[in-house]
Amino acid sequence: MAVLLLGEVNHGTLNRDATAKAVHALAPLGDVTVLCAGAHARDAAADAATIAGVARVLVAEDARYGHRLAEPTAALIVSLAGDYDHIAAPSTTDAKNVMPRVAALLDAMVIPDVSRIVDAQTFERPVYAGNAIQTVRSRDAKKVMTIRTASFDAAGAGGSAPVSDATLADDPGLSSWVGDEVAASDRPELTSAGRVVSGGRGVGSKEQFAIIEALADKLGAAVGASRAAVDSGYAPNDWQVGQTGKVVAPELYVAVGISGAIQHLAGMKDSKVIVAINKDEEAPIFQIADYGLVGDLFTTVPELTGKL
């Protein structure tokens, strides 16, 4: 059995955390080949080769893969698919864009957000905002799936897999890159951060989100937000934690002014330690928090920031 894993490469750099977690998840299924595609992918490939458990690394370095457009990336994966029984990627936004396309081209049903691998055909995945866990058995010859990284530990370092060039596939030429708006930030990346501080509707405005950011910076944490906060324009969408945003499982998750709708809990309830700060003592977030503090966030959060 052989596994092809699409490594997460952004602007020439491997997202090592997401990729290493997927390697760890997939290792029981067979030899894992990591594919690194991008305009600059050699450094990422060399990095991927050092993840323990990686059997080999394929690199597809070409301008056509520069912006992870779905069509050329999917065409590349499909051209390589013949050698593999499982084709996977960590559940990042890019992978969610590409992998269903790959699956349909292979006439297979994609298996999204796999949270546990039971055997080569059988997988667990959350549905209904994590209110239910489904076990599904795939009848497809090739299994195309994305891996929910928050559910797995990362594979270690110390690997030295051989790196070789993949044969490139034709670009269908259906879309082109126009531009990126990436917020420059020194903060850790949300899905791999050891600590996350999130704000909800209770924060009240975009300006007042600075209170959340200050606490996050004091803790060296990533900043998250509830869907309600994103919906209200207080925070950008890529901060969204929950069913329709990111799934995180840090050592410490601090939820501020977040009531705890099921859609939010879906994205953070596997965190090791959860702290909730909310003025409403009946807020559902307190039912899953390890430490709850009932109080006004505008006084308690700055006080907490000051005392850390």
Binding site: P100, R101, A108, N131, P172, D180, K307
Partner: protein, 252 residues
């Protein structure tokens, strides 16, 4: 330009899903059902394109149980022009997988010849996030998933996408598939007069068999269970106490 919008009837956003005692699935009997929230955003975007004079017809289509006709009526009341219901299941508990839905939608697209398909990015029941991308693959069209802004510019669409770390703008050749993310727009509520008018708008009914599509699932659901619970912890009385507890727990 004709715009096609697929919509799905799902458990209402505000209803908590409950796993059936026998582990066979989530109980949907007598549960409030609504249009998938991301599909409402897709319908809204299509209607706005029509209001701007970019689109001239908005066709909504739903694949599922007969009761999805109600969902289509909601889309018609919002402002869609006509609807196609493809009956593919006779039990609300039977979820048609994205691959089968995409195959049916491909057949509908072949007949209707829209220049643009706008779908919701994800259904809030199976959380698959796949139908739009799969349809694009089957049609050989370009795709712009997770859109927060759509501008039609002649033979292409300029779409800003929600990606990890920020936004990406791409240009995709038409015909194309766009999937709607949360911030694309705020869907309107249908007014009472428009709800009445929607009852008279055309709604065609077909079946999956009409399109020769096999809807048998590729993913057999072996079991469905509740997630592991999490115990409520303790309430602390002050910031100092919280800091003390976090130090004890070794997380700061």
């Amino acid at each position: 330009m004709k715009v096609l919008v697929p919509v799905k009837r799902v458990i209402d956003y505000n209803v908590k899903a409950r796993v059936k005692a026998d582990g066979s699935g989530v109980d949907l009997a007598n549960v409030k059902m609504s249009m998938n929230p991301f599909d409402e955003i897709a319908v809204e975007e299509a209607i706005r394109l029509k209001e701007k004079g970019v689109a001239d017809e908005v066709v909504v289509v739903s694949v599922g149980v007969k009761q999805a006709a109600e969902t289509l009526r909601t889309a018609l009341a919002m402002g869609a022009d006509r609807a196609i219901l493809v009956v593919a299941a006779d039990d609300v508990h039977q979820d048609i997988e994205p691959l089968a839905v995409a195959k049916i939608l491909k057949a509908v697209v072949d007949q209707e010849q829209p220049r643009l398909v706008i779908a919701g990015k994800q259904a809030i029941d199976n959380d698959m996030n796949a139908t739009g991308q799969m349809l694009a693959a089957l049609l050989g069209w370009g795709q712009a998933a997770f859109a927060s802004k759509v501008e039609i510019d002649g033979d292409s669409a300029k779409v800003t996408r929600e990606v990890d770390g920020g936004l990406q703008t791409i240009s995709v050749a038409l015909p194309a598939i766009v999937t709607a993310d949360l911030r694309l727009n705020e869907p309107r509520y249908a007014s009472l007069p428009n709800i009445m008018k929607a009852k008279k708008k055309p709604l065609e009914e077909r079946t999956a068999a009409d399109y020769g599509v096999d809807v048998a699932p590729r993913l057999e659901v072996v079991s469905t269970r509740e997630p592991e619970g999490r115990q409520a912890g303790i309430k602390v009385g002050s910031v100092d106490e919280l800091v003390g507890k976090l130090k004890e727990a070794g997380v700061i």
